[in-house]
Symmetry: C2
Subunit: 297 residues, 2 copies
């Protein structure tokens, strides 16, 4: 690769693609953030065409938001953080795309989230949203724990917590498990009047639907429901273990990202909770930093 | 309904339809079992056309096996036990089918399994195969516990046990859970060399695929692996609770049916294990009894 020195006028676009949405941010080293755009799902595991479409939609919206001409896309250096591209086949499919950018650099969404959280520096992140995963990037070496997907992995995630909520509700309704306030909360949210209705409404649903029930478990736990407390402690215990494992890689900083990061924080083991630092920048800015550092090489 | 008295020459066909296969048995009160046939999947939840096709294939094979002419199907009184027909919509779809039988009586697979296990008498059954469920039929009243489907219900079943096997393997490989001999057994069976390969091979797989791993957990538990023992005890504990709950309905007999019935028996609580009686007849004979008793009304 030819070394090109960084240029203050160079435009960068950072793109963070996930299972439900795709965010793009246009950045100029001289002027900062110029515009942002939001597109649809961009997880290549769930479809390449949809992913590329969402990338282009978020890019075009960011260009419009920045007040730039659409042709400016050809001058931009892009950084992409996408789920699933740790698989060689998906990495190749994206990298072989005839993209419109001046140059495109591709890595995992975990990597760009980590770079963003630590503003370009080394560090570790725990993602606890619909799924859960731990990632460390230290001295050029990346390490992943968890992230094995619903329902076999992703402990401590929203989908995991939602599945546990359904399980304890069904057991309680059968008189085969302890009574819990989760049951009524789940029945109300699903508008299900008995166990068979719960089972029918949830059968075969994707992780994102289970994740909508996680909030109920946290609320019941915060009100002292014993079954809910046990679930949240079990999930938070795993996240604490994940954090301790990540710290074995000696990251200078550790952050938590995702919808459950804030509500779970107080349930972590105290020595772990004390380690967790607020993310400095969002994943799409991590993708900008990744584009900058890759382009500068 | 016009009352028709039972006739020793009347032919009955009992059909037991499940998620993987459909069994048909032709029975004559005068001569006993005349023939049997095996067809493909017959769970109307997973497709009506396929179910009706499997019913007809198993029926035709049973007719050939009995050495009867195909037209004899029009003289037979059929009893059908099918999963899912406790849902009114599925019951209607099957009952409205232009079937070839002289008469057709439809009930759930649980009901015919129970009738078969107790040779026509009242009783209770626990199914522990790919899924798990408890059913009691006493004094004309049926009661169901569990059977809420994978992965939210069906505790103690093969699919549940297989999912637990995958979970503990992934945790162990990440160094986030105790080491267990299950891990190597799962990796060998799946031909997966690391946690990501396990996750990829199992992602989105149906319950029947998870159930193929249950045997490994039982084997590891029988060899004293602590993690495997904990899983099997947890599952067997639920099945024991299910049995105790069924006994509240005062069934004269209790049987266990399904692929895990025999291996789980020694892990049940002793007072429960002592209650479990061998099923007298298979579910397709239960369907024959159901046809006979319904036709005689």
């Amino acid at each position: 690769m030819v070394a090109i020195s960084a240029n203050a006028d160079q435009l960068y676009i950072g793109i963070d693609g996930g299972g439900t949405k795709c965010r793009a941010t246009i950045f100029s080293p001289a002027k900062g953030v110029l515009g942002t755009g939001l597109g649809g799902p961009a997880n290549p595991l769930h479809g390449l065409d949809r992913t590329l479409e969402s990338i282009m939609v978020s890019t075009q919206l960011a260009i419009e938001n920045a007040g730039l001409s659409l042709s400016s896309v050809n001058d931009m250096v892009a950084g992409l953080g996408l789920a699933g591209v740790n698989l060689p086949s998906l990495y190749s499919q994206i990298i072989e795309w005839h993209h419109p950018f001046k140059k495109m650099f591709l890595t995992t969404d975990l990597h760009t989230a980590c770079i963003g959280a630590h503003e370009g520096g080394d560090g570790a992140v725990i993602i606890t949203g619909t799924g859960s995963c731990g990632f460390a990037y230290v001295n050029g070496k990346s390490t992943i724990y968890g992230g094995h997907g619903f329902a076999q992995g992703d402990k401590g995630s929203g989908a995991w917590m939602g599945l546990e909520a359904v399980k304890v509700s069904l057991l309680a309704l059968d008189g085969l498990g302890p009574q819990t306030s989760i049951t009524n909360a789940v029945m109300a949210q699903l508008q299900a009047k008995d166990s068979m209705a719960i089972a029918e409404k949830m059968a075969g649903k994707p992780s994102s639907v289970y994740a909508t029930l996680a909030r109920l478990v946290i609320e019941c736990a915060n009100q002292g429901d014993e079954v809910a407390v046990a679930i949240v402690k079990d999930g938070a215990g795993y996240i604490s273990d994940l954090a301790a494992k990540l710290m074995e890689n000696n990251p200078p900083r550790l952050s938590m990202i995702g919808g459950l990061a804030e509500p779970l924080q107080k349930w972590l083991r105290p020595e772990i909770a004390a380690l967790v630092k607020t993310p400095k920048q969002p994943p799409e800015m991590g993708a900008v930093y990744y584009a900058q550092s890759s382009f500068a090489v």
